[in-house]
Symmetry: C2
Subunit: 332 residues, 2 copies
């Protein structure tokens, strides 16, 4: 380590404080018991000698931390857990570890995690959440890649082609002969790009004279029972509903509610999920789904964050990844 | 910060190096471009003035990092993602953030993450993986709580009562009139406590003259298609199988395979899952399941790790949490 190789050693500190080196080590590592007055003495000597522990000295000139954080709104959500899993593998292959932080879809937690991540514990952040104000992302002081959310041209974005996703779903409803489609979405205040799939769906259905209705849900907690109750309520209140478009888990809830209400699938109700995680295939019926290519999203996110960290270079400000439709047993 | 309040400031460094304070900041944060010779000069002055950046100074006397790491073998696994989610909430309520690390069920990654976590980026570790040798956990230099794995009395363990779990499942098979039960388990070399449920199941079924057969799977990758293929193969090769005991996702695979093979549930096949995550209720049929009380496991793990960190005190070396049976539609 150039420039700091003749600073005081742990032994110098121990000698001057008249304690064993391992006691100094205990203070530095905060492990095991050290009497308060001994601790005070050691801290005083550390200051006098300007001793810098190795790992801190290393951090001081910012050797790589070797870790990258990923912010996700919810660990249980199968889309984010699957994506995080691929990102972990890809990062590890490239010599980095993943520190996964779940913000619990809470803006205060998001801000809090972002603050923590400004320190040198990670080299960069891949963020799958975006509730803060634009300037908070702009002012983030280290490499950042956003998923599904545009800040500015200096922060690379990786996103699925959600417009295509909405169109593929709409086409499936048209082909299945649906007349009344309900789509379940986040509240419209959200500025995430994934919302485009709902706009595209509505537009395309309208052109084909098919009614569509958006129902907004907040998914602060990942709550299947909540989805199931909503699904039952909607299907009872709107018995002419013949098409459902929703993320994987709410789609599974509508499928289940419809079957419990005696509906035939897909004759009475066509269900198209969005995301295409393993949950769409682990059900007794395979759910027809628009699939986000999670592995590709992971690879592109990792390429971008590593390029920023190692070369201070933006590969591509906006990477768009196509989605595709996977046929299941819940549509014609 | 007592003891270090009259060290050099970032402005002193900037003045002596004849650069702007923001340039010093760029060097410290490794953000933006700084000419190599300028960087060298700044690093030299930092050394001369023994400047310690605030965050490092803080770390030096080991204020709390404010974060706790959790090691899990797989983020996608619904048991671990649900548990991690509860741990995140509970830690946050107590003023700590969660850094989640997935070891991808790989012993080298586990060792690598443990090494990284020895540094001061976290105050302690809750580990849901245990592939290393006992001494590696013993020598870990900071507060550690293990899930489902006993190291020694200095490392608190939180575990479900897996023996009870196996007995509850066995009782369900007995009550459902099963004669040939297959249970799916990890390879027997594993020393995790959860293996007890398989031993208890076998013992109790034997007493009641019910045949049981363990089939071992390795779940290095969380692969529903793999489970499904195994399930089909087993059910075709062993057509007299009338009971299946497995973790949530392989249980769902057996349920699906059985229905595809034309079996009536539960008349022809009784399925009992182990874990009881949301996936057992999100299927079209509710799967009968032995439920691990994830929220309680989370709370106890957090209580234990915080007591170790803040008081160097072990609340309880071994916390056992009861499981219970939740009736579904896949058993009598």
């Amino acid at each position: 380590m150039e420039g700091i190789d003749n600073v005081a050693s742990i032994r110098d500190v121990a000698k001057k404080a008249k304690v064993a080196a391992c006691t100094v080590s205990r203070v530095l590592n905060n492990s095991g018991y050290v009497a308060p007055e001994t601790r005070e003495k050691i801290e005083k000597v550390i200051k006098e000698l300007n001793y810098i522990p190795n790992e801190l000295a290393r951090g001081m000139f910012r050797q790589k931390a070797g870790s990258i954080a990923m912010l996700i709104p919810n660990i249980v959500h199968p889309f984010f857990s699957t994506l995080a899993s691929y990102i972990e593998k890809e990062l590890y292959n490239r010599g980095y570890k993943l520190m996964l932080c779940s913000t619990d879809a809470d803006i205060n937690k998001e801000r809090d995690y972002m603050e923590t991540l400004k320190s040198n514990i990670v080299d960069g952040v891949i963020s799958g959440v975006s509730n803060l104000q634009l300037k908070e992302y702009k002012n983030f002081n280290k490499p950042l890649v956003m998923l599904d959310y545009v800040v500015n041209s200096k922060i690379p974005v990786v996103a699925s082609n959600h417009k295509l996703g909405g169109e593929l779903a709409a086409k499936k409803f048209i082909d299945s002969g649906c007349k009344n489609v309900i789509h379940i979405c986040d509240d419209k205040t959200t500025k995430v790009l994934s919302y485009q799939c709902h706009i595209a769906l509505e537009n395309m259905l309208k052109v084909h004279n098919i009614k569509s209705k958006a129902i907004e849900i907040k998914w602060n907690d990942f709550d299947f029972e909540g989805y199931l109750n909503l699904a039952k309520k909607v299907l009872i209140e709107r018995p002419d509903t013949d098409g459902i478009f929703a993320a994987d888990m709410p789609a599974a809830a509508f499928l289940k509610a419809a079957i419990k209400l005696g509906k035939q699938i897909p004759k009475d109700l066509c269900v198209v999920a969005y995301d295409g995680t393993y949950t769409t295939n682990s059900n007794i019926l395979n759910i027809t789904t628009v699939v986000q290519q999670v592995q590709l999203i992971a690879n592109k996110s990792v390429e971008n964050i590593i390029s920023l960290i190692e070369k201070d270079n933006i590969i591509e400000p906006y990477t768009e990844i196509d989605v595709y439709l996977r046929e299941g047993e819940t549509s014609f």
